[in-house]
Amino acid sequence: MKKLMNDPRSFVAESLAGFARAHGDLVRVSTAPTYVVRSKLVPGKVGIVSGGGSGHEPLHAGFVGRGMLDAAVPGEVFTSPTPDPILAATRAVDQGSGVLYLVKNYTGDVLNFETAAEFAAAEGILVRTVVIDDDVAVQNSEFTAGRRGVAGTVLIEKIVGAAAERGDGIDELEALTRRLVASARSMGVAIGAPTVPHSGKQSFELGADEIEFGIGIHGERGRARAPMASADELADRVLEAVLHDLPREPGERVVVLVNGMGATPVAELYVVYRRVAERLDASGVRIARSLVGSYVTSLDMAGFSVTLLTVDDELLGLWDAPVHTAALSWGV
């Protein structure tokens, strides 16, 4: 698989440079250390910071802006950023009301944000961290690193960002985020493997009729290899796994995200969404809002994930609140 790139080692920096040039109205991009910060910060607002390895674009830089993130800290491809840029971004956004870290649950991300938080605390910046782990493909037990943070992250960043914009304090925001994490579940399928720039090799080899079921977003293989199936069968199996794990009451309302993994055209995602919506109707789950597109990707992996987030009126209000970022924009 070929890529539009120059030197693999400069891929992240060059992509960010283009991003900065295209969205100078929304963000400012710092290099050395590398982080993306909202151009107009709101005095007194709690800072919302996320980050992690690159290769998941538009996550996270594409969600920096009004009503969502104040800063994003992109690491190398699939590699958590080190504490320095996280700390620099923390300083850049802190308005004296504290900074909330939204961290996807990967050992590297957790440890580096943890270290950054210690440094920030030493400087007197109030930092809280919530770890996101919405991927039901991994069992949550002490025999694993725990469930991964995947596409549910974008839904959580949107809603928490809206609450911060509304003026919520750091305690409410932390509580809200934990509640959202408890209400979000995702599962993904790969029909084509991604290629990591520096290796030039596909992360795994798939036969012409094979897929990987229950994949994450770092090119790791999934829970199991399976034969290729129709869009409806794949959608059914993914949705079933998500519904099985989603805490909910009868007639629950949800925000649905059908997310593309990077190389899957939106026309195919709509075929999947059609089926997901039909199945949710059948199982008495009400779709309050939906999002269909490639928001949390894994380089040029082909496939999709389905995320369900249970919501109430307050969360829907926050979902509908104005957002103005490179990758998500409405109400403004």
Partner: protein
């Protein structure tokens, strides 16, 4: 040769060489059960460490060299390995703080401190199919060598051999930590990349002493 500051510099310089030479091997191991970047990460880190070696003041102790390495690893490796190796070298430095020349037991203390640091930071134990398995084996064999009355350099070689065996022992283990744990059974039969990088680093320590 004695395990003094010159040795400590030589160790890290040699580790940087070895990690550089074997980075694609580490990437491949990580591609099988992780995300394929361990060689990249370690190489980026040790390039930074090598550059920093010159900054270390003359008349510094081995512990100063190890502390500098720790800082560079934390600030340049990233991923899971960055904080883990960073902590390992920080604790190793504390364990032999100020000692001008390391004794046989210092070698045990150094590796043992590194091991405990990684265990605490990563909440991992021996048998979880991580770098801990390499460090734990290194500490065991080093202790044995001390008991057998070996000198510091011999103990260091014992530690390196132990790490090598510990890394090999991860092949058959079921992963309980790190990305490999997402694969469960599918990771059995593959060697843990972090355990291999640990073996590379301790091998460099021994070779630097001979």
């Amino acid at each position: 040769m004695t395990l003094d500051t010159a040795w400590a510099r030589a160790w890290l310089a040699r580790a940087a060489d070895q990690i550089g030479e074997r980075s694609s091997e580490l990437n491949e191991l990580d591609r099988a059960i992780g995300d394929g970047d361990h060689g990249e990460n370690m190489n980026r880190g040790f390039i930074a460490v090598r550059a920093a070696l010159d900054e270390v003041a003359g008349g510094a102790a081995p512990s100063d060299v190890l502390r500098t390495a720790a800082m560079k690893l934390i600030s340049s490796v990233g991923g899971a390995a960055g904080p883990l190796y960073g902590t390992a070298f920080l604790r190793a430095s504390d364990a032999v703080s100020g000692h001008v020349e390391l004794s046989a037991s210092d070698v045990v203390d150094l590796t043992d401190a590194a091991l405990r640091g990684i265990e605490e930071r990563g909440h991992a134990a021996a048998g979880d199919k991580t770098m801990v398995d390499a460090w734990a084996a290194a500490v065991r064999t080093a202790r044995g060598a001390v008991a057998a009355g070996d000198d510091a350099v011999r103990v260091l070689f014992a530690a390196a051999a132990g790490a090598e065996g510990g890394a090999a022992s991860t092949d058959e283990l079921l992963p309980h930590k790190g990305r490999a744990s997402y694969l469960g059974e599918r990771a059995v039969g593959h060697r843990d990349p972090g355990a291999v990088s640990t073996a590379i680093i301790l091998k460099a320590a021994a070779e630097a002493a001979s």
